[in-house]
């Protein structure tokens, strides 16, 4: 009887994309590198463009030993988007890879209920597609693209955090954290709703020790201008300095509740990471984040679905997204301010749930199942000589 795991060890697995990039696609890929490490896969990583700066210590620790300079055959998992497929394949081949000589998987991100048909054509160049959330899987299905759900990992390695003092966050306060995005298409993140929610909380409880921390994307003009407006407000803290992984983890750990009143999220990493760190999550109860958020483990904000306005997002035509009910968000959070024990219990539940379903190992096990299936079933491996000799080696 063929043993798929043994066979898997003979097949190189390469995770390809933008491993060093401080953007969502980079985080998505790194989360999968963590996941594969958690299940002892012999994987390698490949940086397709080599643009990104390599200054983040946590990235180096994760990636350096795994990186290869020339792509190999075997199974290749591309963490790239549907619109960059052609440039990625071209770059891949220019760097010495042969796209046709391996089993290619693509893990695209996407944030609206229907996946763009033009990109779906690009996805068909791959042997299969993995989905980061049910939401994305459903979205892909609308474009006739079948996918396998693997999710992404939200777990940070254990270790210390920078204290609130480092960020200038008030230690005594109940802190709401929001990743404040005013870039193009930022209406998807709906930062205005968070500001409105906070304003309502303040109006209802003017002397409550609350603080809103807004992590602003570096170099974003609209946000900087906006930040200037609130300068001097002791209850709003704007953090505009760029943060590395350690800094982001510390900042999330420094808050009491992570707030996202998004109109849609492909997955909703920030909410998941906050839950994994044992913090409360408050988010619109719609799109990718409902893979790990439930009414028992977090604060799920009510919403109504609305049609997208013209040019509110790429491929907006005919799509809908959620308009969070700010009043409901306030109503959900208020009682927890007066009942910290309940808040703690919910955060603990959230931590356990998020790490159980989206910890590195949980995602790694799902990846492993897919890989074993591929090796057992794909004609590229089944019965044929292994594509290349893997790194697995026995010690005496």
């Amino acid at each position: 009887m063929a043993d798929p795991v043994v066979v898997l060890d003979e097949v190189p697995v390469t995770i390809i994309g933008h491993p060093w990039a401080p953007i969502g696609m980079g985080e998505q890929m790194r989360s999968h590198v963590h996941a594969c490490g958690a299940v002892h896969l012999h994987h390698r990583i490949f940086d397709i463009f080599r643009y990104a700066q390599r200054s983040d210590v946590a990235h180096s620790r994760l990636l350096e030993a795994l990186e290869i300079a020339v792509p190999v055959g075997g199974i290749r998992i591309f963490h790239v988007n549907g619109d960059e497929v052609d440039t990625v394949i071209a770059a891949f081949e220019a760097r010495g890879g042969v796209f046709a000589d391996g089993y290619n998987i693509i893990v695209p991100a996407w944030e609206l209920p229907a996946y763009p048909k033009v990109w779906a054509l690009n996805l068909r160049k791959f042997d299969e597609v993995w989905a980061l959330s049910e939401f994305i899987a459903d979205s892909l299905a609308t474009a006739g693209v079948p996918s396998h759900l693997v999710g992404q990992a939200i777990e940070f390695p254990p270790g210390p955090c920078l204290p609130r003092r480092h960020f200038g966050i008030r230690e005594s306060a109940f802190v709401l954290l929001h990743f404040f995005d005013l870039s193009s298409y930022a209406s998807r993140k709906n930062p205005e709703a968070v500001l409105e929610m906070f304003a309502r909380l303040r109006a209802e409880m003017p002397f409550r020790d609350l603080q809103l921390v807004l992590k602003v994307k570096n170099g974003e003009r609209a946000a900087e201008e906006w930040a200037a407006d609130v300068a001097g407000d002791p209850q709003i803290k704007v953090i505009a300095t760029p943060l590395d992984t350690f800094g982001v983890k510390s900042l999330i750990a420094a808050c009491d509740v992570f707030v996202s009143l998004h109109r849609s999220e492909g997955f909703g990493r920030g909410l998941g990471e906050a839950m994994g760190l044992g913090r409360l999550a408050l988010g619109t109860g719609w799109s990718g984040n409902v893979d790990f958020m439930t009414a028992e483990n977090s604060l799920m904000v009510g919403h109504e679905l609305v049609k997208l306005q013209r040019d509110a997002y790429p491929h907006w035509r005919g799509q809908s997204w959620a308009e969070a009910d700010v009043g409901h968000a306030v109503a959900l959070l208020r009682p927890l301010l007066d009942d910290p024990a309940h808040a703690t219990a919910m955060a603990r539940r959230g931590q356990a749930d998020a790490l159980r379903t989206h910890g590195s190992r949980a995602v790694g096990v799902r990846v492993l199942r897919q890989l074993n299936r591929i090796v057992a079933e794909s004609p590229k491996f089944n019965g044929a000589t292994p594509v290349a000799k893997g790194g697995a080696r026995r010690k005496g």
Binding site: V5, V6, D9, A38, V39, H40, L41, H42, P158, G159, P160, C161, L162, P163, R164, R165, H166, E171, S172, F246, G247, A253, L277, G278, P340, A341, T344, R348, Q351, A352, L355, R356, G359, R361, A362, G364, V365, L368, A392, R393, R394, K395, G396
Partner: protein, 913 residues
């Protein structure tokens, strides 16, 4: 003709000869055929000779044109020339001058090698090889096995020389296993190259200049002498960041935070703690266990006598796949146990390929279950379980041996406590180290063996206690509780199925208990260590994920920890203090005027968020309780004072009692010591004397009983907890304890949980709580184990002659301290400094940092996981608010909430991993 000598030499076996030349050695034509081939291409007719090696190391032979093997047989051996990189004649003769005969002969060498009479080279030890390779090794001729089979199977000559790694890391090395091995021995070691991930010659030379100076090959030296001499292998790790120095700040301002320091302080402390624990493990002298080792399987089987049993009380379930010799050892050990007990052995053979497996048929009264096809561990066990008839079933791995008395003790434990669902023994490695004293489970499904690699005689492993589970290597369960299938098939092929079994019992309200006096020796994983490690690890993590998906809430509940902080109720004026120290005196008076004694000394500690509070105010108590709860502190251990029925400092608790809505959870700790002018609890300058007359004791007990009635009072298993600070000062602790128990019982409580604090004279006594009539002890750091600071300080305070200690080193000592044979609740301290009370004679800890505190706290949580269950999972903190002792979680100006944040981070992290 010389060539005849070659063929007639016993150094060459007939078998090899025939294999190489296809003819009989006595056949005269074969010599001709051999010699007609050019030297370099002549067939290899013995594994013990490497022609190329011989020619390269002996240029004179190369020049002479004589057949090298013939040269070795005729003269080389006598001249102690090495025939092979792994056969070092000088080394052999130096170790035993006569072993090769008066004139070293090839024949004697052949016998030495074939019968493993001694190591042929420092690089190869037949005994070590045999041990390492396990059952696939032949009975003799280890070097031959290694060279002919082992190398191709990926085995190593010794654990340090990983020739595969070596080839992969040196571009000039041929990847052929033998050639890379030879390259290292001939050249690489001389050059000081790394032999593998476990040994780097250059680092070894760098650490030991004498070896560098002698010019000897480093690994050769290490194997030959260095290991015996206790020399250490320097690890090839990047330079460790040093423990950052604590930063100073002007009075009242925050201590600066450097992100790099935050990470470095944590990492450096973790390493220090790990080193301290490792040092303890290494200090153990290994005494191998006297176990049964069957060499003749048939004779062993013939000696096995099993009882004929109609209705056995105990079924011993042994799954087997090959390793019949181990199985025979196992059965003999069961038999040797010979309990006065009706038992059966159900042995499940999972289609062994070993021909010896047939011999098992000959064992009378053995219930033998034979699988038609290989079923894997779990199905094999389940099939055998269906055949078990006993009330109890002992799952026993076939590579385990029951030491005398083990069976009877396990049965007796189940007999005597009908709430026990399963019992597990103390499991040892054959080398005498502890394998497990029960196991624990983390919320993420990973598990740990309690006391792994420790000295099994350590007190902490010498008492029975409940555990989360005990490994299936030797687990006795009540059959009726198990149900149809022993193991859940979702864990196929193996791993974590035993955890699942125990969790099923716990979920049903049953307990699992570790029995220290029942001892089992377990080879551990002989049956799996030849598999791909990665594949095994993948199976394990996949099954851990399954465990969490199935048992998540139960595992989390098992792993819950409560944090209790010592609490000083001093912070309010009292008539006594007004009289002795001046009107309005509180500890704040001393705290605020403290001055640094030396450069970098963090003083004064000034309160931040809560201010210079007055504990007569309910708002202050509420703020404390809310702050504590926010960061995961579950309650306070409040000092209680009573001098001859005169209560002192009781007001704060009076306020708490009068305000039931303040979420202030507490228990009492009777601070039974004199109040003195020196704040030292001593005998001089006594202000209030602690008395132990009956009236005093009665009033103390009455107060404890009265307070325990509050719903916020802290209990352990429903029993209110009551602590005594200095138990050894009690004139009659047992009588006191008995009086307490009687009073609580009279008041309708189900009992009282009495704990003593390891303070002052109790700190190093390891007094058994039971000897005092108590239930448990509580650690009280830093008392008794402080490690002096080594660096010199620049003293800035005139007349100062105090004491400086090192925080991380002290934490390491508490983490690696001796275990005890009773419940002792671990405690941590954030910092400690009594300069406020003793301006000129203060004791202070340097290199404090919230991150070091976090690492220390995480290590103590690990200790709780190993030694405590249920309500007894308590972590104490010294202290919540000992401001004049510099030991406070409460925020101050310098560190703010950082101590609380670090405590919270440790607790939050440990809620998963």
């Amino acid at each position: 003709m010389h060539a005849h000598r070659l063929l007639c030499s016993p150094f060459i076996t007939e078998e090899q000869f025939r294999f190489a030349l296809g003819s009989h050695r006595a056949d005269l034509t074969s010599i001709g055929r051999y010699l007609s081939v050019p030297v370099a291409e002549r067939p290899n007719i013995t594994p013990y000779f490497d022609r190329t090696f011989y020619l390269v190391s002996n240029p004179d032979v190369a020049a002479s044109g004589i057949d090298p093997l013939l040269h070795f047989i005729e003269t080389g051996a006598e001249e102690l020339r090495a025939p092979h990189p792994l056969i070092d004649l000088r080394f052999i003769v130096q170790a035993d001058p006569l072993i090769l005969g008066p004139a070293p002969s090839p024949q004697a060498l052949f016998e030495l090698l074939e019968y493993d009479l001694m190591a042929p080279s420092p690089y190869f030890d037949p005994l070590e090889y045999h041990e390492r390779v396990g059952a696939v090794a032949p009975s003799h001729g280890m070097l031959r096995h290694f060279l002919t089979d082992g190398l191709t199977a990926g085995l190593l000559a010794n654990p340090y020389l990983d020739h595969l790694w070596y080839a992969a890391h040196n571009a000039d090395v041929n990847p052929d296993p033998y050639l890379s091995l030879r390259h290292f021995i001939v050249l690489g070691d001389v050059e000081g190259r790394a032999a593998g991930p476990a040994f780097n010659g250059a680092l070894y030379r760098a650490r030991y200049p004498d070896i560098a100076a002698a010019g000897v090959p480093p690994l050769w030296h290490f194997l030959l002498r260095g290991r015996e001499e206790g020399r250490q292998i320097p690890a090839d790790v990047p330079a460790e960041p040093a423990m950052p120095m604590a930063r100073a700040a002007p009075v009242g301002l925050p201590i600066p935070i450097e992100p790099d320091d935050v990470a470095a302080a944590y990492d450096a402390t973790r390493r220090l703690l790990a080193r301290a624990r490792q040092d303890r493990l290494e200090a153990m002298v290994e005494v191998p266990v006297d176990i049964i080792r069957t060499t003749d399987v048939a004779a062993g089987i013939a000696a096995i006598r099993l009882p004929a049993s109609v209705a056995p009380r105990l079924s011993i379930l042994i799954p087997v796949y090959n390793e019949i010799d181990y199985t025979v050892d196992c059965l003999l050990s069961v038999m040797r146990n010979a309990p006065n007990l009706d038992y059966e052995v159900v042995l499940a053979d999972d289609c062994s390929t070993d021909p010896d497996a047939k011999l098992l048929d000959g064992i009378a009264n053995l219930v033998l279950v034979r699988q038609a096809t290989n079923q894997g561990f779990i199905r094999n066990c389940n099939a055998a379980f269906a055949r078990c008839r006993g009330d109890y079933v002992l799952l026993l791995n076939n590579d385990a041996q029951m030491m005398p008395g083990a069976l009877a003790r396990m049965v007796a434990a189940l007999d005597s406590d009908d709430r026990l669902g399963a019992v597990g023994p103390k499991i040892l490695y054959p080398n005498g180290r502890l394998q497990e004293a029960g196991c624990y489970i983390k919320p993420n499904g990973e598990s740990g063996m309690v006391g792994l690699f420790a000295d099994p005689a350590e007190p902490g492993y010498e008492y029975d206690r409940d555990v989360a589970y005990s490994s299936g290597a030797a687990l006795m369960v009540r059959r009726a509780l198990v149900g149809e299938a022993l193991f859940d098939e979702r864990f196929r092929p193996a791993y974590c199925e035993d955890v699942d079994l125990c969790l099923r019992l716990l979920a049903g309200g049953w307990r699992v208990r570790y029995l220290h006096a029942a001892v089992v020796v377990h080879h551990l994983s002989v049956s799996t260590n030849r598999q791909s490690v990665a594949r095994k690890m993948r199976t394990i993590v996949t099954n851990q994920q399954t465990l969490v998906e199935r048992w998540g809430p139960l595992i989390r509940k098992l792993d819950q920890i409560r944090v209790l902080a010592f609490y000083l109720p001093q912070f309010h004026p009292t008539p006594e203090n007004d009289l002795w120290w001046g009107r309005g005196f509180t500890e704040w008076t001393n705290v605020a005027k403290a001055q640094p004694s030396y450069e970098g000394h963090y003083q004064p500690h000034l309160p931040a968020d809560l201010g210079f509070y007055d504990l007569r105010a309910p708002e202050a108590l509420r703020a404390q309780a809310e702050l504590a709860a926010r960061y995961g502190v579950d309650g306070f251990c409040v000092y209680y004072y009573n001098f001859g029925t005169r209560r002192v400092l009781h007001k704060p608790l009076d306020v708490v009692r009068a305000n039931p809505d303040i979420p202030f959870n507490w228990c009492l700790c009777w601070a039974n010591e004199n109040w003195t002018k020196h704040w030292d609890g001593g005998e001089k300058a006594v202000l209030l004397e602690q008395r132990y007359d009956q009236a005093t004791l009665d009033s103390i007990i009455a107060d404890a009983v009265e307070q325990a009635g509050d719903p916020r009072y802290i209990t352990v298993d429903g029993k209110p907890m009551f602590l005594v600070y200095r138990p050894l000062l009690l004139p009659d602790p047992k009588a006191f304890a008995a009086a307490c128990r009687a009073a609580f019982a009279n008041a309708g409580f189900i009992g009282v949980h009495l704990a003593y604090v390891e303070s002052m004279e109790a700190v190093n006594q390891a007094v058994r709580p039971a000897d005092l009539g108590f239930d448990a002890a509580v650690e009280f750091p830093p008392h008794g184990r402080a490690v002096p600071a080594e660096d010199a300080a620049t003293i800035t305070k005139d007349g100062w002659s105090g004491y400086r200690y090192d925080y991380p080193a002290t934490a390491a000592r508490f983490v690696a301290r001796e275990t005890v044979p009773y419940p002792r609740y671990p405690a941590v301290f954030p910092s400690w400094d009594n300069t406020a009370r003793q301006p000129l004679f203060g004791t202070s800890f340097d290199r404090i940092s919230p991150e070091a505190f976090q690492a220390y706290t995480e290590a103590k949580i690990e200790e709780i996981r190993q030694f405590h269950m249920g309500d007894e999972r308590l972590l104490f903190v010294n202290a919540w608010n000992e401001w004049a002792e510099g030991a406070h979680l409460e925020p101050d100006t310098g560190y703010g909430h950082r101590w609380l944040e670090s405590l919270h981070a440790a607790l939050t992290t440990r809620r998963w991993s």
